[in-house]
Amino acid sequence: MALLTIALLAVREAARRRLLTAAAALTIVLVGLTGWSVSRLVSLHDAWKSPSTVALHASIFVILLAWGFSMVLAVGAAFLAAPAIASEVETGLILAVLPRPIRRSDFVLGKWLGLALLLGAYIALTAALEFATIKAVTGYLPPHPIAAALYLMGEAFVLMTLALFASTRVASMTGGIIAIALFGVAWIAGMVQTIAIAFNNQSIETATAAVGLLLPTDAFWRGAVFSLEPSAVVATANAAGRSAADNTPFGISAPPSTALLLWSFGWTAVVLSAAVLTFNHRDL
């Protein structure tokens, strides 16, 4: 019960601090801009009138939009989770809470659950509004919109878990910076990996794959891209061969393997457990 109380408290804090209002307002602006941009693009060229061309160009637009959104999610997840525990330690707020008969694990897991609810709801609503707007304007809907949203959630949850782990040990600012910096490293490693594959450089490919295992955000990003690509694009890329298909950060020929997804879930569970263990032994 304490876990749920802490989770709902995190949600209530977001609402009271007008985080939800701000997120809602920004989403409305983003969706409005998306609708306007797509409608302008459609009206620019006659070529857009062809359904297959609309699908192709709209899919590129959607993937670029998703990339921007994933960056916002990464920053949002890091800066939401990094102060979640650290700021309560810094301000002394936690000194009144933890003497209550609650487990420290419930406190950490409750924070995680509350933030996951916030991020998950934000991603689901924003993605639904964006896809609906693009569909209304262009008639195009990506092949796997729900899977894409779930992959983006996965990416956000991985980074949120990392930032929450940092929050049990270091100051808010430090935790946020660590999470964002590591996210950047993982993303760049993913980029380099595609280049390594294109040039058939096994050692760089192995090294970048290892970075991807240490922080598996890029696996989720690739899953999101794959879910947003029209099947014709994937088929064409695959026909051109593995190197060509993977040689773009925004064009993925296959979804992340089940093994990689299981690794990512395991990674999240292990880092969350480490957060609990670290916080259990922390002197306040």
């Binding site: 009271r16 707020l93 009144a96 003497p99 008969p101």
Partner: protein, 317 residues
């Protein structure tokens, strides 16, 4: 064993180190159930560290301790404890009522009881009229009152109050004394950590003085400050005979128009007054005097020389 038979707090050689720094250097003490126990010491003496160890907020480097018969930090004990931290901070985006309700929920209190508990706490600490205002709009004093309310939720058996009046005005301080009195009357144990020694002197049954992580004195307030062995007498129409009469009862000094007779037993006071009157002096006032807790505190921490009175030989005006 009957849980009530165990002390409210018992520690044995409790040590806390932060790296090379020793915050607590072997705390051994016992606090009985139903006792109001004062915990005094200068800044950095280890008071708050001790409270954190007792509450499970920090773990001991060595030694052992029990609170309400349970190991330090045990949830079973924390369910029966109230705590007002020295650094009192509550969610400033919640109302006072919501903060109290939150702590009821975190305490596993039955839902049916919560509303009544919250109202009672609000009334007790005088926040009923501001119950629905956000904590962020409260003064420091009001936030400390809220913290007291939080500490009183759920009829705790043991209440830790860490500097409970640091932000309060005289009315607030009086209210805290009343609250501590009420806790004592219902049999709760109060562990009071305070710099305000007069406050401690008024409300505590026993006191421990801590310095550099160790207890330097522990005992009842009376045993620490001692029984009155000094008598102050204001006399008109003094004479050498008066001085001589007074010297028969102890060493005599003279301060600001008062004779001070040191080491006099209280049962000899009537005879002393009679003697002075017999030699023709008029007695305006007679006051037994004992050291305050503050004086004893300073004596103990600084050594006797600093707390000694500025005696001089007796001599009338």
């Amino acid at each position: 064993m009957n849980p009530q038979a165990t002390p409210a707090i018992e520690t044995f050689e409790l040590v806390k180190r932060y790296g090379d720094a020793v915050a607590l250097a072997g705390l051994t003490m016992a606090v009985s159930r139903g006792e109001v126990f004062g915990f005094l010491g200068p800044n950095g003496a280890g008071k708050t560290t001790a409270v954190k160890l007792l509450l499970g907020l920090a773990s001991a480097s060595s030694g052992s301790g029990w609170v309400l018969g349970e190991d330090l930090g045990a949830r079973a004990a924390r369910r029966r404890i109230g705590y007002l931290p020295e650094l009192f901070r509550y969610q400033d985006w919640l109302s006072a009522r919501e903060v109290l309700a939150l702590h009821c929920a975190l305490s596993d209190m039955p839902t049916a009881r919560r509303a009544a508990e919250v109202e009672h706490a609000l009334d007790t600490v005088g926040l009923a009229r501001r119950a629905d205002d956000r904590v962020g709009t409260f003064s420091k004093g009001m936030q400390q009152r809220l913290g007291l309310g939080v500490a009183l939720l759920g009829t705790p058996e043991l209440v830790f109050l860490d500097e409970p009046t640091s932000a309060l005005d005289p009315v607030g301080r009086h209210d805290v004394r009343e609250i501590i009195g009420a806790l004592k009357r219902r049999g709760a144990t109060v562990f009071l950590n305070s710099h305000l020694l007069t406050e401690v002197e008024h409300v505590c049954d026993r006191v421990a003085m801590i310095d550099r992580g160790r207890i330097v004195r522990i005992g009842s307030v009376t045993s620490l400050i001692g029984v009155a062995t000094e008598l102050r007498v204001r006399v008109a129409d003094t004479s050498p005979q008066v001085d001589a009469s007074l010297r028969r009862y102890g060493r005599v000094s003279f301060h600001d128009g008062w004779y001070v007779i040191h080491g006099i037993a209280q049962d000899r006071v009537p005879a002393l007054v009679a003697d002075i009157v017999a030699v023709g002096a008029r007695v305006h006032a007679v006051e037994p005097h004992h050291a305050t807790l503050e004086e004893r505190f300073l004596q103990i921490l600084r050594g006797p020389s600093n707390g000694a009175a500025d005696d001089r030989s007796a001599g009338g005006p």
